[in-house]
């Protein structure tokens, strides 16, 4: 009997937590289709009574959303490709038992996880020494090597049989060749996992654009949310032609619409990519 009661309680807690996680997504999604006048008078609702596509139409009739989308996509693709390449190669060296200094390198990498690099030095480096302000590279370069993802790869490479490499070495192949021709192909599942972690990080980032992008036209999607939440001159920002003075500005609807446009791709692919993330976390939790 107690066992039974406990099971019911368990399912109830899990169900409640799942619902609790889901509701904010639902509110944002469904209200982005709500009629603007309804949003302004009745506020956000669990199920709006009047729908309209006005917010999306308005948003998509401007130029900014396409510019921002372009920047986000470019940063995500370029950042992920470069990041994975740098990280996978670096991690391979860290995991290789022939390398004498791998422990020192691991430790120096681990240290950067424990201590922040310091905002000021980081800011001066990017803005004043590398002169990357208002450059798309300021959004890419600082995230190329994430120690946590490097260690996921290290712990994976360690599980590979060392003979793979010995056989190739006997055949006279050098380590770069071995890495790209043998190690990389058999690591593809884990490399896919790490790529997705990088892609998510780049897609969701706004810290770098907050620090280094002053030209508001160049802001990625994430920052467009911020702009629409705070900007008074939305019309000019979104880039809608200024002749439509008579339309009601869908201020609330547009904030929700931009959120949906931003998280849309993630939520859409989420069911397919979820297991890669789970795998990554599982590998990462193996201490090594």
């Amino acid at each position: 009997m107690r066992e039974r009661l406990f099971l019911v309680l368990m399912y109830a807690v899990l169900g409640a937590f799942a619902l609790f996680c889901f509701i904010p997504f639902w509110i944002v999604f469904i209200n982005s289709f709500a009629d603007e006048s309804l949003l302004q008078t009745a506020g956000y609702q669990l199920l709006p009574s009047k729908f309209s596509l006005h917010a999306y139409k308005f948003l998509l009739s401007g130029k900014q959303v396409f510019l921002s989308y372009g920047i986000t996509i470019f940063v995500t693709i370029a950042g992920t490709a470069l990041g994975v390449l740098v990280t996978a190669a670096y991690a391979y060296t860290l995991s290789h038992r022939k390398v004498k200094y791998r422990h020192i390198l691991s430790f120096l990498t681990f240290l950067t996880m424990l201590f922040g690099t310091g905002l000021v030095g980081f800011y001066i480096l990017i803005a004043n020494w590398l002169h990357l302000k208002d450059s798309v590279w300021a959004l890419i370069l600082p995230y190329l090597l994430n120690p946590f993802y490097a260690f996921i790869l290290v712990s994976y490479y360690r599980t590979l049989p060392y003979e793979l490499n010995e056989a190739a070495t006997v055949d006279g192949a050098n380590d770069i060749y071995i890495f790209f021709r043998i190690i990389w192909p058999i690591s593809l599942p884990v490399i896919a996992t790490v790529s997705l972690f990088y892609a998510l990080q780049y897609w969701n980032d706004w810290y770098l654009s907050l620090l280094f992008i002053d030209n508001y036209k160049m802001l990625p999607l994430q920052m467009m949310i911020r702009q629409l939440m705070s900007n008074l001159n939305v019309m000019a920002y979104v880039g809608v032609s200024q002749t439509q003075y008579n339309v009601v500005l869908p201020t609330y609807g547009m904030q929700l619409a931009i959120v949906c446009i931003t998280i849309g791709p993630i939520v859409f692919v989420y069911p397919f990519i979820q297991r890669y993330f789970i795998k990554g976390l599982t590998l990462g939790s193996v201490k090594g």
């Binding site: 066992e3 009745a42 060296t93 950067t112 905002l119 770069i176």
Partner: protein, 311 residues
């Protein structure tokens, strides 16, 4: 002869023997030097009266003046207390709910229910804090927010949430658990999956109920991982979650008394006041506190349970 010896240095020999491997690591090493270690030079600014035109080597050195200024003001105590208090709340709520989620999810036999629940609780990990901030405003905004609408509907008066500092530590705690519990629970589920089934079998033979198995097998065996996650959290207890706080609170000064953390304070000193040296002093202070904390707790962990230490 001399030349021969220099070439025999073990360091050089190692580099040349594994030159291809070091070449593979080169971009990564360059990255760490440029983006992780060179910025540490920024800490020097804390001891200067830094001016952009003079640069880091030309600015005037002022010793501990910036620190004196920081510690003489009343902000340092506020941001320190807020940082530690909020992080402690986040750590406990995030891990606590994850432990419950993981144990319960592990017990669920209905596959569909398990998959859907797991997917939903993991979902918030995938969105940025700015999106979370927008979601929070749909709930807490004074006139349009769902919570105030519900309160009015029930005959209560709405609350000006964004003007009430005292509630925010708890709202932020709930939001933090909302975002991270699913992520943590997956790490813990992986640990549970690694527990040998023999333990459970012998427990069943002895007649242990599922609840007992949970309490006396699953929970204790999760302990090392929970300890490591706790230690990692404590090690970062002086590092505020800038992304979260700045996205949700932003520049809303009314809420600073309870939500301003070291990181947002340093950010404002740098970007809004343009005071590089002050910002740097705050960060040096933060790093020192962080270093001391991690050394202390690692030493304790090493004593108590050698498996749980970080290094």
């Amino acid at each position: 002869m001399e030349r021969q010896r220099r070439f025999d240095l073990p360091f050089v020999r190692e580099l040349s023997r594994n030159r291809y491997l070091y070449l593979l690591a080169l971009p990564g090493i360059a990255f760490l030097i440029i983006f992780a270690y060179i910025p540490m030079l920024g800490h020097l600014l804390a001891f200067q009266n830094y001016r952009l035109s003079d640069g880091i080597w030309g600015s005037e050195w002022v010793g501990f003046k910036n620190f004196e200024f920081f510690f003489n003001g009343k902000d340092w105590l506020r941001v320190t207390v807020n940082t530690v208090f909020l992080n402690a709340l986040f750590l406990v709520s995030g891990l606590g709910s994850a432990v419950v989620l993981a144990i319960f999810l592990n017990e669920v036999r209905n596959r569909l229910f398990k998959r859907i629940t797991q997917s939903l609780v993991f979902l918030p990990y995938f969105i940025s804090w700015l999106v979370v901030s927008m979601m929070a405003s749909t709930l807490f905004s004074t006139s349009e927010g769902l919570i105030n609408r519900a309160l009015t509907f029930l005959g209560h008066e709405g609350v000006d949430w964004y003007l009430t500092p005292s509630v925010w530590p708890y709202i932020l705690t709930v939001i933090s658990a909302w975002k991270i519990a699913g992520y943590n629970s997956i790490i813990l589920l992986a640990v549970i999956a690694g527990i040998s089934s023999e333990y459970y079998e012998s427990a069943r033979i002895e007649g242990a109920s599922r609840m007992q198995q949970m309490l006396y097998i699953t929970l204790p065996l999760m302990r090392p991982t929970v300890m490591i996650l706790t230690l990692l959290g404590i090690g970062r207890i002086f590092y505020g979650d800038f992304g979260m706080i700045y996205a949700i609170i932003g520049d809303n000064g009314v809420l600073f008394p309870t939500t301003d953390v070291i990181d947002t304070y340093a950010y404002r000193s740098l970007r809004q006041l343009g005071n590089f040296s002050m910002s740097s002093a705050v960060i040096v202070y933060q790093s020192c506190m962080g270093l001391v904390t991690i050394l202390i707790f690692n030493a304790i962990a090493r004593k108590v349970d050698a498996d749980s230490r970080l290094f």
